[in-house]
């Protein structure tokens, strides 16, 4: 199996980007990651695009907008979709492309332009991430699915609304240190607890916003990576898992089996355990998501996620720093872009280029990206030389 490294990273500004179209958003991090790698687009063999939704894009084959705008044609490109995990599925596909030997240098670009449609329509599109036949008739929204996971978690494990809120407090705190973040604002426990209830028990500050943004990375084979980069970061473990479409068929509503399966695959492939992870980006589209992630990734025992945030074990100086880039909560969650943005952050950490939010001496990182309410999950492990 060929080794594959990340040799270039780029991340555009996340936020409500009324100033730019999907293709224009995508251009920004591509330019940045080519500059970072010190190569030109002519050096890239193949491209993979991660975008979650045709409907947000207002386009059929939105990936064509991007390769066209970059002038990448006639070289290969197609789109990979895994809802909110589209970015990580695109990284996975980029890895497959290099590992297979069919290409040596691959550009992975991921973007989402969510604010062309209004909130009602966005809620409608995202609501159909669940079972559009069997759940949609009950007015289910995206916060609604995670709210049901939260209700079950609170009942079974005694997780509290305060513990959920603490995740928001942490991620907003670190978002302040990330100039690319959508929201640059500290929030207090009281602010979170007193904010508008979006879907009981989740409040406004338990939920990520609707963001526009894009991120891009360059992947290269071992030979090329050593030519291109002084600080290649290797993707040494990849895992992908899935779960039932409807929540009603889950064995345990508090466990995302896709995460457990993907994490086990990734740990095994990289030959590491959860204890080896120095820094992680996990999928906190809702605060309960981060708590489930702690547990399902093996950072703590099942049911102890609430305690883990309460004890600040996932702060920068804790047992394992999580989402110190602000997470989806504060950095923003332009759904298709998120997975690639996670890869960008982990590479920054492993290169020790993360500034104020640097995890000292980080050698092994993990990203965890969820489609919908767990229907598909990608976990990657990253290691520096």
């Amino acid at each position: 199996m060929r080794r594959v490294a990340i040799v270039g990273i780029g991340n555009g500004k996340f936020g409500i980007r009324k100033d730019a179209s999907l293709r224009e958003l995508a251009f920004e991090p591509v330019k940045e990651c080519l500059d970072d790698a010190g190569i030109s687009l002519g050096d890239v063999d193949s491209m993979v695009t991660g975008i979650a939704s045709d409907e947000f894009s207002l386009a059929f084959q939105p990936s064509a907008q991007i390769h066209d705008y970059l002038g990448f044609n006639p070289k290969p490109n197609f789109r990979v979709e895994g809802a909110c995990a589209s970015g990580s599925m695109a990284v996975r596909t980029g890895w497959l492309t290099v590992a297979s030997g069919i290409a040596d240098v691959v550009l992975v670009v991921a973007a989402e332009k969510m604010n062309e449609v209004n909130t009602g329509v966005a809620t409608e599109i995202l609501g159909r991430a669940g079972d559009s036949t069997w759940e949609y008739p009950f007015g289910t929204s995206f916060p609604g699915y995670y709210a049901m996971i939260a209700s079950a978690h609170m009942d079974r494990h005694g997780t509290t609304e305060e513990q959920l809120a603490m995740v928001a407090v942490k991620n907003h705190h670190y978002g302040m240190m990330n100039p690319l973040a959508h929201i640059q604002k500290e929030v207090s426990l009281e602010m979170v607890l007193n904010s508008f209830v979006v879907a009981h028990p989740l409040k406004l500050y338990d939920c990520c916003l609707i963001s526009d943004g894009a991120a891009a990375i360059i992947l290269a084979s071992e030979e090329k990576a050593k030519e291109i980069s002084k600080k290649p970061v290797w993707i040494t473990g990849l895992g992908c898992g899935t779960d039932t479409l409807g929540l009603n068929e889950r064995r345990d509503l508090t466990t995302l089996e896709g995460t457990v399966f993907a994490a086990n695959q990734a740990y095994k492939m990289a030959g590491v355990t959860p204890d080896d992870i120095d820094v992680a980006c996990v999928h906190d589209c809702f605060t309960i998501g981060e708590i489930c992630a702690y547990e399902d990734l093996g950072f703590c025992k099942k049911g102890e996620g609430g305690k883990m945030i309460e004890e600040k074990q996932t702060y920068l100086d804790g047992k394992i720093p999580v989402n110190v880039d602000g997470g989806l909560k504060s950095k923003g969650h332009p759904i298709g872009a998120t997975g690639v943005s996670m890869s960008v952050e982990i590479v920054k950490q492993l290169r020790e280029e993360a500034g104020k939010r640097q995890v000292k001496g980080a050698e092994t990182g993990l990203s965890h990206n969820i489609a919908g309410s767990g229907q598909a999950v990608a976990v990657h492990i990253y290691q520096r030389d």
Binding site: T123, E124, T133, P137, F138, S151, A199, G246
Partner: protein, 146 residues
């Protein structure tokens, strides 16, 4: 009755009788003729043995609520788009109505609206029963009741 009178969007399925059954007062799942696996939502094909021979079976009896929520920011269809319908349990415009998932004794789980109970009275473990409802506009859905 069309299946979308239940589903609100998807209309083509091998399971379109589900909506007719709901209209006649029955919540139906399916059981595999070959291996006996039981499904709700119903399936036309068995994911255990890959047989496509299925029987419709009525789901009855009380169950326990395994989770619930109440959604204050609804998808477009249930808000503005709901104008042409009589919303299930609301006035002219969408009013939040709790929803939840009921687990029956046989292990199958049913999602439904919980219109009759105040949110603060609802908790995981509550015993309820799933009941088909025909709305004033003729569409059908399911509610979970005391």
């Amino acid at each position: 009755m069309e299946f979308k009178d239940f589903s609100r969007s998807i209309n083509h399925t091998k399971l379109d009788k589900f909506a007719d059954y709901l209209a006649s007062g029955k919540i139906m799942g399916t059981t595999c003729k070959k291996c006996g696996s039981r499904y709700y939502p119903p399936r036309a094909d068995c994911k255990k043995c890959f047989s496509d021979g299925m029987d419709w079976v009525e789901l009855k009896g009380r169950g326990k609520l395994i989770t619930f929520t109440s959604i204050n920011v609804p998808p477009d269809y249930f808000d503005v788009g709901f104008k042409n319908l009589t919303p299930p349990f609301s006035k002219a415009r969408y009013t939040a109505c709790p929803i939840g998932i009921l687990r029956l004794d046989n292990g199958l789980s049913i999602m439904g609206w919980i219109p009759g109970i105040a949110l603060k009275e609802i908790s995981v473990g509550l015993e309820l029963v799933a009941v088909p409802v025909t709305l004033p506009d003729g569409t059908v859905t399911i509610k979970l009741c005391d």
